[in-house]
């Protein structure tokens, strides 16, 4: 306890500690996923159920022109599940905020954004696991992609960027919400219209005029159309660039806003 104790903070550059703090917090949140059986189950089972539901229950009634429904569906359901998966970030952030542990983190000499980096990055890993399971199920129910290896890499890249951007955005909700319950609703209200009023499950051509206008121009549709094009060869056009711009923009703004809210907590 005296100053001769060897257990004192070590001297390294602040960049070294920024990386170290972030990695420590990422490991914390990944351990949460592994140690929390309920969450792990929902991560594995939900994508299977959704895939089967749309493929067999709704699929038969939806006309997707030249493409088979299962080929049409995979891009949409991947993006939808990633979007809902990203909202769990707000839950994790809000849960930490309502418990004493947030005071603990804020009283440590650590990088203040590390707590948010930990949540968003671990959620990204969890969503990747979900997506992988979903694609495996898709193959089992008749999915026939034409994507090359490079196309697949591009799919993974854009899906990760999209998920990470939404995770940071939902971190903002988690920081602003007054309770964990409120956060659950926020996420739902926010993501529901963006994923369903899109080209995820049905072609936008059948929608009423204004809904269609929204559906065709909102960011989630750009991401879906890009991934769909890469997977099954539908035309991508400008969707690819628009998806990249939207996702990078959302990510950049969300990181800045979330970090500054986090720093101002208690001020």
């Amino acid at each position: 306890m005296t100053n001769t104790s060897p257990f004192k903070p070590e001297q390294h550059s602040s960049f070294y500690w920024a990386l170290s703090d972030s990695w420590t917090m990422i490991r914390r949140n990944i351990t949460h996923i592994i140690n929390n059986m309920d969450q792990l189950l929902s991560v594995a089972i939900q994508p299977i159920m959704f895939m089967l539901l749309f493929r067999y229950v709704f699929g038969g009634a939806i006309n997707t022109g030249g493409t088979s429904y299962v080929n049409f569906l995979v891009a949409g359901i991947l993006v939808q599940s990633a979007a809902f998966g990203a909202t769990t970030t707000s839950l994790g952030v809000a849960t930490d905020l309502t418990k004493g542990i947030m005071d603990r983190f804020r009283s440590l000499p650590m990088l203040s954004a590390a707590m948010l980096i930990g949540h968003t990055t671990a959620d990204l890993v969890r969503n990747l696991i979900s997506s992988t399971i979903m694609v495996a199920v898709a193959f089992a129910v008749g999915f026939h992609p034409q994507a090359s290896f490079v196309d697949w890499l591009a799919v993974i890249g854009i899906l990760m960027l999209f998920t990470y951007a939404l995770s940071w955005m939902s971190a903002i909700l988690g920081l602003l919400a007054k309770s964990v319950e409120a956060v659950q609703w926020f996420g739902f209200i926010f993501v529901f219209p963006l994923t369903f009023a899109s080209s995820a499950f049905v072609p936008t051509a059948g929608m009423p005029k204004y809904l269609r206008l929204f559906a065709e121009n909102q960011p989630v549709t750009q991401v879906i159309e890009t991934i769909r094009g890469l997977l099954v060869g539908t035309p991508i056009g400008n969707h690819g660039w628009l998806a990249l711009i939207w996702c990078s923009g959302i990510l950049l703004v969300s990181v800045i806003v979330a970090s500054s809210i986090f720093r101002r907590l208690g001020r």
């Binding site: 306890m1 257990f7 420590t24 351990t31 804020r106």
Partner: protein, 322 residues
């Protein structure tokens, strides 16, 4: 840097809108000693700790910890403090060891040091058996011990203990006191907040009594107790008649409660209780039970403010700490 005082607060002020929570608090804690902040819920104790540990901004005054300005040098301040709050700040989904190592790393210990120190603390706090269990399965006392262990992982010279025993059962409270006493012997400077006079009395070198955001009395436990008065003994009897007889034996300073069949009298010296019991035995009066009533926070407040403790549950602080 102040050589004598490790923690200094001068005219500290904090308000939420119109509500003043701290109205100019002055505190000084000598290096290597413990100061207890004693006061009821909502008095401002937790607000002071949150300000000194950089969790909360303040509106006026100045505060330094180890000579570092709390408002200006937050990062450095966080490197020299350990904080144990009212609500055990532990991660439920991690094991005890995982909690300690993680916090050690965030305090910027090396991985090897974090592991070694965790093992030491698990032993010191009697948590070795539970080390690899998820904290979710811990009892309240175990959580508090782990929480305190975490705040010591980087051997900080300054430790804040915010109501470390509130909500603990008597046995766990005694165990916690023992742990805190051991901390003292290691040379750390400690600021403790508590609602219990006995706790402050047992642990602290100095006590500051705080009420409505202002320090209303300061001194050692003995100095404060002299202001408040001495312990009293409550003797119970089988019949009212016996109680009345006892009052006659014990004299003018004793007070009788005929409905409860008790007699209360001040115990100003160690031998006065023995004398009283001997006198009663000589008079052939049977005492059924003896209770010693120690001065409580209520007595302190009654004496210092002329009012009993108010449970100010509507204050902003009470809301914030919930």
């Amino acid at each position: 840097m102040d050589k004598t005082y490790a923690i200094v607060a001068e005219d500290l002020r904090k308000s939420y809108g119109e509500t003043e929570v701290l109205k100019g608090v002055n505190l000084k804690v000598e290096r290597g000693t413990m100061l207890a902040l004693l006061g009821p819920n909502g008095a401002g104790k937790t607000t002071i700790v949150r300000i000194l540990s950089t969790l909360l901004s303040f509106n006026g005054g100045r505060a330094t910890v180890e000579g570092l300005d709390v408002a200006e040098q937050g990062d450095q301040v966080r490197g020299v403090i350990g904080l144990t709050g009212q609500y055990a700040a532990v991660d439920e989904y991690l094991t005890g060891t995982q909690n300690l190592v993680m916090m050690g790393r965030l305090y910027h210990l090396s991985q090897a040091h974090a592991r070694e120190r965790s093992q030491q603390l698990l032993e010191q706090f009697d948590l070795v058996e539970a080390a690899n269990r998820k904290v979710k399965t811990y009892s309240g006392g175990m959580r508090r011990r782990l929480d305190l262990a975490i705040s010591l992982i980087a051997t900080p010279p300054i430790i804040f203990l915010d109501e470390p025993t509130t909500g603990l059962d008597p046995r766990s409270r005694l165990a916690m006191w023992e742990v805190i006493r051991n901390l003292m012997s290691s040379g750390a400077t400690i600021l403790l907040t508590t609602q219990y006079l006995e706790e402050a009395d047992q642990l602290a070198d100095q006590i500051a009594v705080i009420d409505h955001g202002i320090v209303i009395a300061e001194g050692t436990a003995n100095e404060l107790k002299k202001k408040v008065g001495v312990d009293s003994a409550v003797l119970s009897f089988q019949t009212t008649k016996e109680a009345e007889a006892a009052k006659n034996v014990l004299g003018e300073k004793s007070i009788i409660d005929t409905t409860k069949m008790t007699v209360t009298f001040p115990v100003d010296a160690v031998h006065s209780l023995t004398q009283a019991l001997n006198a009663l035995e000589a008079a052939k009066i049977t005492v059924v039970a003896v209770d010693i009533h120690k001065p409580t926070l209520d007595d302190v407040f009654l004496q210092l403010t002329g009012k009993p403790v108010e449970a100010s549950t509507n204050s902003p602080e009470a809301k914030l700490t919930k």
